[in-house]
Symmetry: C5
Subunit: 93 residues, 5 copies
C-alpha cells in the first residue's frame, strides 16, 4: 500500500454508472518522512476521509474488493486514515 | 485512477475480435495542476469522450469490468469526463 | 494499452508447457509521436504481427484473456496492428 | 517479489473492517547488494516480522491470497524473512 | 514479460507455508541488447534455471498460474530459459 496526503477533489458528472455516489479524491503520495514523492493520482474514498488528511491507499484489483461491488471500475481506494507513522531511529533520510 | 487529456486516436484494422467496435484514444496523463506528466498511453473509451477532453482513466483488471465482457483484452478504460479538479489552496506546486 | 515497434524475437526451447507454440516478440514502446520511450519488453503475438510493425499491446491479467487458455503464464500480448496514430494538431511535443 | 528492510510502523484506527488486527509495516526496498532503491511503501505482515528485518514482499492480487480472506483490500504482504542473499561473484555493482 | 540474468539466490527459512520447496532467484533485468536496466527483483524458478542463465520472467497474477496452486503468494515466476534474442538489424541502440 501507499500513504499519501489528500490535496483535492475531482468532479465528473458524466461517468460509468457504477461510479455514481463515490467521492474521488486527489492523493499526493508521501514517503514515511512525509516528503512528497511521485505523481498525484485519484482514489475513491471508502471511509469518510477529506482534504489534508494522511491516508492509506490500496491499488490494483485489491482496490475493488472493499467497495461492495465485485465489478466496479476502480483501481485505487482509500482504506484507512493514518494516525501515526513511526520510523526506526536508526533510519536516516 | 489517473486523469489525462485525450490528444489523439489510434486506428487498428487487424485486431483481436473482442476489440471490434471500440474507440482507442491516446491519453496524456496530467497531474492535478494540469501539468503533463509521464508517457502517453492508449485507453478504450466507454462514455463517449473525445479529443481535448480531460478524462478519468482506470487501469489493470479493473479496466475490463466496465466494458460488458469479462474476458476482453483491455488494460486501460476511460470511465469519466472530468468537470473540475479542485486543489486545496494550501498546496503549492 | 501501449503502442510499440516490434524490434526482435526471443527463442526459448526450455519453457512452461503452456507457452509452447507461442511467438515471443521484443517490443520497443513508443509514444504517440513515434519517439522511443522506456525499456523493451517481451510480448506474445496473438494476431500474426512481425518485426518492424507498430502494434497495440495489452498488459497484466488482461494479457491472458485473449490466448484461449485462462491460466497461461503471460503478462503482455500483442492484440492489434496499428494502421495510424492521429494526434490533435494543438498538441506540441 | 521484492526484498526490503522494515523501517517503521503505520497506525490507523479508522480503517476498512477487513484490515482490523493486521500489522502495517513501512518497507524500504533494497537491491541484492543491500543498497536502498526506490520509495518506501506499506506492507501487511503475515509471518511475525519486525523493524530492522530484511523481508520478502509479494505485491498485487497475489498479496491477498495468503491472508485467509479472498476479498481483503491489501496489495503488498510480507511473506518471508530473508536469511541470506547470495550474489554470483562474477556480478559487479 | 521481461528477460533477465539470474545473479543470485535468496534463502528464507521463515516464510508462508505455500512457498515451501520453491527456489527464489535474484533476477537482473536486461534489455534486448543484454544491457542491464532497472532494479533487481526476486522470482520463483518453475523450470530448473540457475545462476548466470538468461531467463523469461512473467509478473503479476499471471505469475501464479504456472505453479500448480491457484492461491500462492508469488508475483514473479521464471517460465523459460532464453536460447537467443534476435534483434532487427535496422535497430541501433
Amino acid at each position: 500500500m501507499q500513504i499519501g496526503r489528500i490535496v483535492g477533489n475531482v468532479w465528473a458528472t458524466k461517468k460509468d454508472d457504477d461510479l455514481n455516489g463515490l467521492k474521488f479524491l486527489v492523493v499526493q503520495p508521501i514517503d514515511c518522512y512525509s516528503h512528497y514523492e511521485g505523481h498525484t493520482f485519484i482514489a475513491v474514498d471508502s471511509i469518510g476521509s477529506g482534504i489534508g488528511e494522511i491516508v492509506l491507499v490500496v491499488k490494483g484489483s485489491s482496490a475493488r474488493v472493499c467497495l461492495g461491488k465485485k465489478y466496479i471500475p476502480v483501481d485505487a481506494t482509500i482504506v484507512g486514515i493514518v494516525d501515526n507513522v513511526e520510523v526506526d531511529k536508526g533510519e536516516k533520510k
